[in-house]
């Protein structure tokens, strides 16, 4: 038996995409509400997600889903009104409902009935709310009675727009110049506060033709479609708005349907196109194919550089020449196309780590509850982009690290109080970019790892002799947790529970070319730091000259470049600095870093120098170079076995003229400077 829903396949696709978003909002929002129930915007967002899901599931005829979301909405509405406090039992019940909704949503995907009954859950909701939930009334929506002579304008804004509210505001201003705005959703006030989806609906009293309205709203950047409708006259006469007419930008699908009804054939086409683009047809692509594509693009980028070089040489030789000019045009076009191609290939491989992080807040909450610990879970840098292949592999190791942190790292509240700590522990999961790496860290403020217990346990397990264990440094001892056969962390902390072999965690991370390190301090906590390479092989870089050599500085690290008089460089505590906007900027001569000592920096003009200001972490540093050459896309080639690891060099690249240029490892250089300062 298969399920039937009242919608076309592409409509269902759109429904699924939006439902996934709303379920995420519900799940994340409930977890946040449990911690802080004072944020009306948050409660409003959670309520709206349930409300929208109710509307759209009812539209496709998914009665179970509609009934459950309706009951959830009632409870959330009472919370919103302030007549029901946010308690753990209520959040628990609502989260169970979200789990059930996920199952019901899957029915839409597979069309296979799950057999899940929602009656108990609905009763549970009523029970949790203690008092019988009042019959939910449809939201008192702004009554959309359109004055005679008014038109309705619906403006869609590109979903990639950073600030759709500002774009909507611009469009509203453009329309307001052509008539009188009777009403708009969102309102002008809401837009000014930055509240908006990617839609604007305006009722406008105007005598201007539709084409003028199209032109005005369409002149705003990132507006992808403008629909002008003359509202159905019968509705105006009755004065009772069709419930589907309720302006609610979240109800995108319904909105489109309504809009399409009164629209001209052309507009209907535009709306259909819009639907299709939102539904986004997906294709699964083998990662090996994306890898191959990336390699080919890399080759193309190198060839483009060489082509430009040849072109320069040719024009230097033969001056202005028709054919050369033609060649130059073609080369420029080729550059643009290969730029775009490269970007698309890179983007197709990148995903925000959010897609892995998403499931953790709920997991940590449940684990903490089970082990009766109070834990504040914080995530940072969820938007950090990570190569698709890495994303797939990183979920399990992170899950194990977080589980270990909850089970073994964090102490029970009593023990924490006894140690003079805040009874609530903090568990931090963060991701950030560092040069050509992504660093993901799991940090707890728990009891730390006891190196003595690890030694004892390792000896007991027969991993090494008692003598060898005593000889080890503390750091080496702690790293024994990664040894195969060290099994669970139970023995380390004397807390019973599941432990996951850390050797598996390490193996999984190393499999994708990463490293994992642990820092721990007794009584203060533990950090597991995972460093993953960006497999992206191409970066934008600034080329600089030092003597005869050309160095490549990744543009991501470059803050600014400047030219300073050599006599403005001062020596403070035997270190060179230059004053920039009143701050002393420490300097490093690239020539020294790569031990090309014995020669003075030779700037093009003896009295002047170039400084490239770079940043790593929170530290700024000025690299002193002879000259700036320009900005270029470079393909990173590993130095591999040829030179081995060279300190301060992140790799090499091949320049347009075939020469090899070293890529400066900014983080290393900054680290070295810090080490020198500490010495």
């Amino acid at each position: 038996m298969t399920l039937q829903f009242d919608a076309t396949e592409s409509d269902l696709q759109l429904f699924l995409e939006e439902a996934a978003e709303q379920l995420r909002t519900l799940s994340d929002g409930l977890l946040r509400m449990e911690r802080d129930d004072s944020d009306p915007l948050l409660i409003q967002a959670v309520f709206r997600a349930a409300h929208t899901l109710k509307g759209s599931s009812a539209t496709i005829g998914h009665t179970n889903m509609a009934a459950l979301t309706h009951a959830m909405e009632s409870v959330l509405d009472r919370i919103r009104q302030g007549s029901l406090p946010v308690t753990t039992p209520i959040v628990d019940t609502l989260l169970q409902c979200v789990d059930a909704l996920n199952v019901l949503n899957e029915e839409v995907n597979t069309l296979v009935p799950s057999g899940l009954a929602v009656d108990d859950l609905i009763r549970g909701l009523h029970g949790a709310a203690a008092a019988p939930a009042p019959e939910v009334q449809e939201e008192a929506a702004p009554v959309a009675v359109v004055a005679t002579g008014a038109v309705e304008v619906i403006v869609a804004i590109d979903t990639s727009s950073e600030w759709p509210a500002v774009r909507a505001y611009q469009a509203l201003m453009e329309l307001a110049a052509l008539g009188t705005v009777v009403a708009s959703w969102p309102s002008e006030d809401e837009l000014q506060k930055g509240e908006s989806g990617h839609w604007l609906r305006v009722h406008l009293q105007t005598d201007r033709p539709a084409a003028a309205l199209h032109g005005a709203a369409g002149s705003v950047s990132e507006v992808v479609s403008v629909t002008v409708t003359h509202p159905d006259a019968s509705q105006v006469r009755q004065g009772t708005p069709d419930p589907e007419q309720t302006p609610d930008p979240d109800r995108r699908r319904v909105d489109l349907g309504t809009a399409a009804r009164g629209a001209s054939p052309d507009d209907q086409l535009a709306i259909a196109g819009q639907k299709l683009s939102t539904a986004q047809r997906m294709v699964k692509v083998d990662i090996a194919r994306l890898d191959e594509l990336m390699n080919l693009v890399g080759e193309l980028v190198i060839d483009r550089g060489r082509l430009l070089q040849v072109l320069r040489e040719l024009s230097a030789r033969s001056g202005n020449d028709g054919a050369l000019e033609h060649l130059s045009e073609i080369t420029q076009h080729l550059s643009r196309v290969s730029d775009d191609l490269q970007e698309q290939v890179m983007l197709s491989r990148l995903l925000p780590v959010e897609s892995v992080f998403n499931r953790f807040p709920r997991m940590v909450r449940d684990l903490a509850k089970k082990s009766q610990k109070s834990i504040r879970f914080v995530m940072e840098g969820e938007q950090t982009g990570l190569d698709r292949s890495v994303i797939d592999e990183i979920g399990d190791p992170l899950l194990h690290l977080l589980r270990n942190a909850v089970d073994h790292g964090v102490e029970p509240a009593d023990e924490r109080r006894g140690a003079g700590k805040h009874p609530e522990a903090t568990l931090l999961l963060s991701a950030r970019h560092e040069e050509n790496y992504i660093v993901i860290e799991v940090t707890d403020d728990g009891r730390g790892i006891n190196h003595q217990k690890i030694r004892e346990s390792a000896v007991r397990k027969g991993l090494l002799s008692a003598e060898a264990a005593t000889r080890m440094t503390d750091e080496e001892a702690i790293n024994l947790i990664f040894a195969p056969g060290f099994s669970t962390a139970e023995q380390v902390t004397d807390v019973s529970g599941r432990g996951v072999g850390m050797d598996i965690v390490r193996t999984n991370i190393e499999k994708i070319g990463g490293t994992v390190r642990v820092h721990t301090a007794a009584g203060e906590g533990t950090t597991f730091s995972i460093k993953l390479p960006l497999t992206l092989a191409i970066i934008r870089a600034l080329l600089v000259r030092v003597g005869e050599a050309i160095f490549t500085v990744p543009l991501a690290a470059v803050q600014e470049t400047m030219r300073v008089r050599t006599d403005s460089i001062h020596t403070v505590h035997r270190r060179e600095v230059v004053l920039v906007r009143g701050q002393a900027l420490p300097l490093v001569r690239l020539a020294d870093v790569f031990s090309r000592s014995g020669r003075k920096v030779q700037c093009d003009t003896p009295d002047w120098c170039y400084i490239v200001v770079v940043r790593s972490g929170r530290t700024d540093l000025g690299l002193v170079v002879d000259a700036l050459i320009g900005e270029q896309e470079v393909v990173i080639k590993s130095l591999g076995g040829v030179l081995g690891e060279v300190d301060g060099v992140a790799g090499a690249t091949i320049l347009g003229d075939g020469r090899v240029s070293m890529i400066v490892d900014v983080a290393k250089v900054v680290e070295k400077l810090a080490a020198r300062a500490a010495a």
Binding site: E162, W163, A165, V166, Y169, Q170, M173, L191, Q192, G194, S219, V220, S221, Q332, D339, V558, Q559, E560, T561, M562, E631
Partner: protein
């Protein structure tokens, strides 16, 4: 092709932005703060202005108002960073035609200029 006034206090940003505009065949003139921008605008009457917001001397919003006060037809787009949304609303009220969020994409900048002069 247009004459574009590029206003930003960071020389590096000017370098990057000027380069991509020039590659497209635009003529670029530069100013490093709002005060300078007003002077250069009045002296050279560019077709379009790309204006950073946070700058020393005179900020982008003030410069925009000053320029629009003296030339009601001035076509200005703001170069803005995340978190300046409310300032951009102010700029639009003061007559800015468009905005581009940094770090910007090449296409966005070129499209904004095309729109300003088109």
């Amino acid at each position: 092709m247009a004459k574009v006034l590029l206003v930003d206090d960071a020389a590096f940003m000017r370098m990057r932005c000027a380069k991509l505009l020039q590659e497209e065949g635009h003529e670029v003139i530069e100013a490093a703060n709002g005060r300078e921008a007003v002077d250069v605008y009045l002296a050279q009457k560019p077709d379009a202005v790309l204006m950073d917001i946070t700058m020393p001397e005179m900020d982008g919003l003030e410069a925009l108002r000053e320029i629009r006060a003296r030339d009601a037809g001035a076509k200005v787009a703001m170069l803005t960073a995340m978190g300046q949304q409310s300032i951009v609303i102010e700029a639009i009220k003061s007559g800015a035609k468009d905005f581009v969020v940094k770090p910007f994409e090449r296409e966005r900048v070129l499209a904004a200029v095309a729109k300003l002069v088109g």
